[in-house]
Amino acid sequence: MEFTLIQLILSLVALIFLGNRVIRFLRKERTQTGFKLILTLVVWGGILLTSLFPVTVHNLSRSLGFGDNLNTLIFFGFVMVFILLFKLLASIEHIERNITEVVRKEALKDIKL
């Protein structure tokens, strides 16, 4: 089985991220959660599988009903990423406003007529 350069690079990067996450999870670092582990396994595992076995992934996409058009799957991936990004931005904005409200309340607590 022959690998192209891009396949090798992608596999290596995916392995580094997967290994890093798994090691940190096994070390029980405080910032590591099961959710982060699963997310890494799905995203970087997916990239690893796609780069190692492109034909299998292509067949899988065909059996899922996407036909020969793997781009559709990638497009949906992007849409999901953008939705997540906007959700994240909205949530950050909400937290920022709450922080400001707390800071303001504290600043105004001694103000009396």
């Binding site: 920022e96 406003r97 800071v103 303001r104 600043a107 105004l108 103000i111 009396k112 007529l113």
Partner: protein, 223 residues
């Protein structure tokens, strides 16, 4: 007729070098009701302002110019202000302009300070930045003004009670335009003189280019 209670709101972030002078200038013009909001400065702004005869409030964290102005306005409301003038702490505004603004406030709900961008000493990036700011403000809020980012503004009691803002950073300045439109407030623009000193150009906390881009994005998202 009883005299109107005027409050000057001065948002300040790391302005220890000039805040004392700015407050002295305001006192010299007989403005006694001054609220300084120290927006989580890391220098001695708070202590310098505290030496003066002003109401000093402190944000324990830096929340941005918009947040600081709003805190000052909330304080002025508690202190039953009849009218409020916002005034930058870096010494770029002329205290003489306040009197003119208050005069106009007899006829209008909001007076917007308007810098003369034809003046040669105004940096080029300020001119371009202001034009982009005006354009986006117009596109989002439907109100064309010639200086959407000016820090010097005056508000009547009616405007104070109606204006509701949420933006923390520089996009606050444009949010005021939305509120003018939403509440059908009467407004006017008043030419003001600005002093772009070596200090104001050198200071590290002035809005950077990347900060300006972020402001534009936030304006679009919050519009």
């Amino acid at each position: 007729m009883t005299e109107k209670k005027t409050y000057i709101v001065v948002p300040a972030y790391n302005e220890s070098e000039v805040i004392g002078l700015v407050l002295d200038e305001l006192h010299k013009q007989n403005y006694r009701n001054i609220i300084v909001v120290d927006d989580g400065s890391t220098d001695s702004t708070y202590l310098k302002a505290k030496e003066k005869d002003v109401v000093i409030l402190r944000h324990m964290l830096n929340r941005g110019k918009g947040a600081a102005v709003k805190t000052g306005i909330e304080a002025a409301k508690i202190l039953q202000a009849d009218q409020i003038v916002t005034f930058d702490a870096d010494g770029q505004h002329e205290p003489h302009d306040i009197k003119k603004a208050l005069k106009l406030l007899e006829k209008f709900d909001v007076v917007l300070g308007k810098r003369d961008f034809k003046e040669k000493h105004i940096p080029f990036f300020k001119k371009i930045g202001n034009f982009i700011g005006n354009l986006i403000t117009w596109l989002i809020h439907g109100l064309w003004v010639s200086d959407s980012q000016s820090g010097m503004r005056a508000y009547s009691k009616n405007a104070i009670s109606l204006i509701e803002t949420t933006a923390d950073r520089y996009e606050y300045d444009s949010e005021i335009m939305r509120e003018i439109v939403r509440n059908k407030l009467s407004y006017t623009e008043m030419p003001i003189h600005v002093r772009y000193t070596e200090y104001s150009q050198k200071k590290t906390n002035r809005q950077s280019y990347s900060g300006a881009i972020k402001t534009v994005i936030r304006m679009i998202l919050s519009g």
